[in-house]
């Protein structure tokens, strides 16, 4: 039998199996902590930093990512404080201005309360969340794609940028890519100050929705346990 521990997340006492992450424990209990790079059953790398929470220990608060923090008996977590919301908003803003054409990213930004953006848009077609890379290496043990380069040159590529023999065309990478979950059809023009809205993103139609489930596209696919909690 798996051992369980009790953690306190935003005031709720939650039972979770030992060895699971705080993020999984929260999502399982219907507490939505926004996240992007985490994929169930794959290794968590803590890359997007959206899932940050405050971990209260000995009266001191430490900010860390909940996808890399393992549950411990008696742990106290705050996932929705003013401080966290502000930081998360800023991270989401960096992401959405980098790739304003992804509906999934737009939804995340809305969920994190981004109303206006302060940086000029770019039209990146990859936010380096590494979901595809881990799906390939972690799930099937293949290494058809991987990260190359450092810093601003970092990108996802197949070895030597050639079609890889190792690829067995399972398509998991594409399924998991936030850029392909209902992509937007028109690229932003440089200097366009607002998200384009071509893809009818919720960003244009709804108020910023910090702390509430907005039924985002990330969740729709395969990520959060929204469907479970909705039926509870």
């Amino acid at each position: 039998m798996t051992q369980e521990v009790t953690v306190n997340i935003d005031g709720a006492f939650i039972r979770a199996p030992k060895g699971s992450t705080v993020l999984d424990a929260a999502l399982g209990a219907g507490i939505c902590i926004p996240h992007l790079c985490r994929v169930p059953y794959l290794e968590d790398i803590g890359a997007c930093r959206l899932c940050i929470v405050e971990h209260i220990e000995n009266g001191r608060s430490k900010i860390t990512t909940s996808c890399t923090l393992l549950v411990q008996e008696g742990m106290r977590i705050l996932s929705n404080t003013d401080r966290i919301r502000k930081l998360r908003r800023n991270i989401a803003e960096l992401l959405v201005t980098e790739a304003p054409n992804s509906r999934a990213i737009q939804d995340i930004a809305l969920r994190c309360g981004v109303v206006e953006t302060r940086y000029p848009f770019r039209n990146s077609d990859c936010v380096l969340c590494g979901r595809c890379v881990r799906a390939c290496t972690g799930h099937f043990g293949e290494k058809a794609i991987g990260f190359v380069g450092r810093g601003k040159d970092r990108r996802v590529e197949s070895p030597f940028n050639l079609y890889s023999e190792l690829c067995n065309e399972c398509g998991r990478c594409i399924d998991l890519c936030p850029m392909t979950i209902v992509p937007c059809d028109g690229n932003m023009k440089p200097g366009e100050g607002r998200l384009c809205g071509n893809c009818e993103s919720k960003m244009l139609t709804e108020e910023a929705a910090q702390g509430y489930c907005i039924g985002c596209y990330m969740g729709d696919g395969f990520q959060c346990e929204r469907s479970i909690t909705n039926t509870l």
Binding site: I45, R49, I63, L87, N90, P120, G151
Partner: protein
Amino acid sequence: MSKSKLKTIKDLAPLRNSLIKEREKLRATIVICGGTGCQASRSLAVIDEVKKQLAKHKLKKSVNVRTTGCHGFCEQGPVMVIEPDEIFYCHVSPDDAAEIVTKTIRDGEIIERLLYTDPVSGKTIKTESEIPFYLAQDRYLLAQNRQVNPCSIEDYIAIGGYSALAKTLFELPPESVVKEIVNSELRGRGGGGFPTGRKWAECREAPGDEKYVICNADEGDPGAYMDRCVLEGNPHLVLEGMMIGAWAVGARKGYVYVRNEYPLAVKHIQLAVEQARKLGILGENIFGSPFSFDVDIARGGGAFVCGESTALMASLEGKVGEPRPKDVHTVVDGLWHKPTTLNNVETWANVPSIIKNGASWFASKGAKGSKGTKILALTGHIKNTGLVEVEMGKSINDVVFGIGGGATNGKAIKAVQTGGPSGGCLPVEKFDLPVDFDALADAGSMVGSGGMVVMDESTCMVDVAKYFLTFLQDESCGKCVPCRLGIDRMLEIVTEISEGRGTSDHIELLEDLGDTMSTTSLCGLGKTAANPVLSTLRYFRDEYETHINEKKCPAGVCQALITYIIDEEKCTCCGLCKRACPHNAIAGKKKQVHSIDVDLCQKCGICMSECKFDAIQIQ
């Protein structure tokens, strides 16, 4: 000399005594620096020539030539010290060798021309200990460099080397060693300043039989070379420190992770390991004790981020050198998921003397909360540059003016940048701050690995921030969003400001973004990457505001914001500038004051350097 294995602890002292006796017979020792800096100024050729001359004059047996590691005063290299009188010669060339051997060694005469001239007083100085650059320092670690040839384990043993290890293995149980280090209040010299004793204690208590110690000699900070200097100049000291640490935490295996760009350091530490193995100081049952320990040398991948603890361990494991989340500390879950103690070169180098002299000896030096000495790499717009070692708690003033000798060419000093690329800038008004971990951190900078770049009034702080951001943008591993995109956006904004497109919202945005990066980045690089911007904003906000509001660069550095003009009063109509300008931007006939066409001017500054009358100015 016995080169056989030291089977028991009792063999060490006789070996040391015989070595000392041998050295006492010598008439003189010529110490020549063979560190990387002095090698670059041809010290090896000097050494060859000196040896030749000694042979010629039949002095080979009575005079020892000791090639050592860096003394810290590279600027004056090649440097030579003649023992026992400590005569100090600088900028020695191979041609001087004959004269040195005949005059100084044979006849006891001093060669005036080779003496050091103090740039502040203008006087020549005879002995090493009188040189103000050294006098103002507290040299404990660096002073040893002069006493040993790094390729000779005998030299190290002769000055008392490995006696701390012997004491550890036979008198101090591991718990006592940990306690001693805790009591010494030694803090890590690699940048973080984490209490070393606490690290060792946690690693010792961590469950598991297999544990590791690692020496971090990756030193990727541009301009920093104190780790190279210690490892190159005194490798056995670092090795002895690691062995004491291994005994304390319960490790049987250690690694030295050296930056690949340090070939001499790699060579010396490799040689040191081999020599120690041969003497039975590394290997099974050291000195006949139950303790067994060995060390491997690994070469770093060359990226700055590989110096970060988790990235370094990933690299040692043969993976890509990228940081990973540290929700469980490396003292519990480190190299190959085993408890691991990682310390910096300088941290390890401090250990043997703590064991030898006691924790209270160490704790009596330095400032509250920051004990002992720190080696700083002093560079920039000052008279004396080089590696300096000071007790922590000394004021920045003492370092910059006392040791550094103040500004060059009469300009006023404006700021100092401490702590390497992700450190901060402190204005001259803050120079009475002590160089210690907490004081500098409170002021928005850090001791870091010990870089200290002094800047005079010709420096633009916006430009400085831009420079460090550019470095960090290249060196970020790119894994996490706040660091990768945060640095990118910061650089974008600072560039806008430096090119005259800054807006009034930019300063607030920089501060907000900086806060996000510092709090949410995955590793130390991202967590500190905003420091150059945040600290310059804190102390030199007016410079940013002038760039933004008046579209001017007060220091005249940011190209887009300056115009070159000709001072009509000073112009002698010589026509030099007109001929020099590659863009034909200067107009004016003979005997007619010249002028610069701002539309054609590319701001290359060639006219300014050509003009002999200071008539060209920046506005």
